[in-house]
Structure formats: C-alpha cells, structure tokens
Symmetry: C2
DNA sequence: CTGTATCCGGATCGATACTG
DNA sequence: CAGTATCGATCCGGATACAG
C-alpha cells in the first residue's frame, strides 16, 4: 500500500517526501548532523525504529547515502545530490508554514530543550562582547528545565548543568514568549515590557541580550515578518558543530 | 499522535501538508476542480471517506474553504489564499521529483485512464488543424481501455465511448511509452521508431500528432531551473529570463 | 448526486529487548 | 554507542451502508 498508482511527479515526490516524519528528517540532514543520535536530537519524539526505517527508505530511493564509519562508531548519513536538492522543497514548505501556521502556538508545540538547541545554533556571535558570557536560562512553571549557554565569539556551547564559570546573565522566560522571539513574532523588548521575560545581570548585558538571539531562517523569506526592527540585523548562516 | 511537538515551521507545515494523499489533493485543487467527484477523478484510488476527511482537515487548518451550493448540488471546495500559496511547495516537490524519480516507471505507476485525463488537459490546441479531429487511443494488452479524444481548437473532449463522428487517427500505444512521452522522457518520433506507438490514418495527421501532445508542466519547470543554473555558470552564454 | 458514519483488516509506530 | 528485531497498541483507509 505504498504508492499512489500515479506517474505524476507530485505523486511520485509525495511518495518519498510526504511520508510521516520524513520532511523533518530531511530538514535535519540538510542542517548538517550525520550520525544517528545527532539526528535524534532534532527529532525529539521519534523512535529509533522509525528513524532507522526511514533512513533505510531514504537510502533506497537515493536521497541518503550511508557511509561506513570514517573514524568514529556507527555510520554517517549524508544527503546525496538528489537529497540536497530537496532543500528547495523544504524551504518552500517552511516559508509557507512560517507565514500561515507558525503564529498559533499550542502548548503541544512548545519544547524548551528543542528551543535552546536551535537558539544555540543561531546565536549571533558577531554581536557578542569580546569576553566570555555565561547565560543561564530558566523557564517559568518548568523548574526541571535549566540551561546554560556559554557564549564566546569563537564557540557557543549549550550545557544542561552549570558549567562552573559563574553566571553573567539570568534569563527567566515563558517558553512561549522565547519561542515567539525565535520565530520573530515577538521582540525581546516587547516581551520584557509584558513581563514574559525577566533579565537579571549587568545593564550592558541586559541591553545587548536581544542582539545575541537569532531567529528562524524561515522568517527571512516571509513578507509578514512583523518583528523586523533595527535591532535585528541580517541573519548569520549556520555554523559548524563538532 | 497528530503533531510532531515542534514549533519549527517545517514541522508545522509537514503536519498539515505531508499527511498521506494531502499533497495530491492540494495539487488537484490548484488545478481547478472544485467539486467532490471532480476531485476524485484526479485521485484514482482514493476512497470517498478519506477525501472527505482530508477536506474537513484542510478546511479546519484554513487551506480550503467550503462554499454552499452556488447552483449545482453538493459543495464547492476552493483554496483559500493560504491554500493557493501552497502552489510554490507543490511545484518545488514536483520539480524535484520530475528530475530525480520520474524516470523509473513501474507498472504500478501506469494508469491509462489518468494518462488520458492529463493528456486531454494539455492538448496544444494552437497546433490543431482547423477542422475537428477524432483520435482513438488503444493500449496494448489492455483491451478494456479505449478512449476517444475529440479535438477542436475551441474545445477538447475525452470520451469513453465512440462519439460517433468517425475516427480520423488511430493510436495504438504501450501505456509506458505514452506516459514517457507525456513526461518528456521520450519523443513521439522515438516511440514510433521503436514500435511502441503505432499511428494509423492520413499522413498529415500522423505527422502532426506529435505537435498536439503536451507535456507535464514539471518538465518545463525543470528545464527552466536547469537553464537558470546554466546561466549562472561562467562558461555558458547568457539567456534572458522574464 | 454528494457526501458521512461505521466497521474491520492491515499498516504503522513506539517500547522493549537484543546484537555488534 | 549504534542500530535492529519483535510485538502489541494504535491508527489508517477502503468497503459498505446510510443520509441529505
């Protein structure tokens, strides 16, 4: 019961791309992660069985190439040329969804761990001060979630335990507000005004904080991005993680 | 178990667009049909239950608008502005699939009725002779399938029974070959040479037949993007785009 | 004619246990 | 660590019957 019994390219494409979770797996692969458990980081609720099965399918149809352990353990999953060219489709889908469905965030869509993960990747290092800054994030009504971002111009790290350098800036936030900021549907200034985010620390860091946080790349393509203020310079590209 | 638990626009978009059969339903709505059973024509194996359910979902998320019977029976299903803007995503998917997966046609992908349906819609009326031409299609090893195309510059009709005007041109074809022609992976000339299509009728009609048949729009998109890429390469002569 | 509700078999998915 | 096999619960989808 796999296919649609059609020769139409949209149907053939949907057979491989529009299977459940597949667009997200392709999105992750486009971002860069190549190992099984790296991929799982960006796919919070996926089971290992399903990810494994999808990777097998994607390899079979020529979107993914599985390479033998180059030096570490396990395999490397890389997109083939065909897979990389799915970028245009993923972008089109993301851009559409940014414009039309990203505004209404239900509690089910919120995920502090995932949020911190993407915020880390989009930190605008060029706006950081020369010295290292440790920012401690906590989320209201979710005491179990605590994160530390260690920010340096040369490297950004996300920790799940106090890294021990001392904390320079405390961020106490509503998950929803910080998510909206990442989606460029709310400015840091507005969130502070409404009390949905509280910053504690030296004034220069409190002032600069907004310039450190990046936004989703899908906001860039949308005509409707509301929060395009002076504080938001062009987005930086993704940086490599090791 | 509906959503993916993510705020990422790609995930939100996939929740609504990448559900099974949904890309095809959107594709059909983009083409124009607005009534329930018109939609089913382009979705051969879909059950009424599933189409009904998907239309309800699409209406709920704001992609489809259900209008009360304007004059006929039943409802009209129209894309909203949000739905129409999915065009870019459908095109991206179709263009990708045309390039990467449309070549390998399995018997399961072939469907004479659907093929005739899309050929009818893409007839290049500007190349037709002034007088009416009736073309009778038959498919090898599928004696149950017989179709008549009544071609006029002002109107094209597909019939499943002899319309009674007499037949001007007989086409006896391998389903696969005619499908490949529609996908622009094979020319009529080559198919004739290989004996995969046989034309019977006056020489002027046999010669002109190739110019009446159109090809999938995704072939054109693909050629255009190839041209665009070529134009960016330094060694290729310039071509203007509008 | 234009859908909708129900039922049931098969497909899918996550948890668990297991292997290299 | 990096997956894979198995199994049971859940979900999906087509057939059928039914309603406007």
């Amino acid at each position: 019961m796999g296919g649609y019994g059609q020769f139409c390219p949209v149907a053939r494409g949907a057979e491989v791309f529009a299977e459940r979770r597949t667009p997200l797996i392709v999105r992750e692969l486009l971002r860069g992660p190549a190992h099984f458990n790296e991929l799982r980081c960006g796919l919070p609720r996926i089971s290992r069985s399903l990810l494994s099965e999808r990777l097998v399918t994607l390899e079979r149809v020529g979107i993914v190439e599985r390479r033998s352990p180059s030096k570490g353990r396990g395999h490397e999953y890389r997109l083939t040329k065909a897979g990389r060219e799915l970028d245009a489709t993923v972008r089109a889908l993301g851009t559409w969804a940014y414009k039309w469905v990203s505004r209404d965030l239900t509690p089910d869509n919120l995920d502090p761990a995932l949020l911190m993960w993407v915020i880390e990747r989009r930190i605008r290092v060029e706006n950081l001060p020369p010295q290292r800054v440790v920012v401690h994030f906590r989320f209201r009504r979710l005491p179990a979630h605590a994160y530390w971002l260690v920010l340096e111009r040369t490297e950004v790290d996300l920790c799940f335990a106090d890294p021990g350098f001392g904390v320079d800036l405390f961020v106490d936030a509503e998950v929803k507000a910080l998510t909206q900021i990442y989606l460029a549907h709310l400015t840091v200034a507005a969130a502070l005004r409404r009390g949905e985010i509280t910053l504690t620390g030296p004034p220069e860091y409190r002032r600069a904080f907004a310039s450190w946080i990046g936004v989703t790349p899908y906001a860039r393509d949308s005509l409707r991005s509301v929060a395009r203020t002076a504080e938001q310079a062009p987005l930086v590209g993704s940086r490599s993680r090791t």
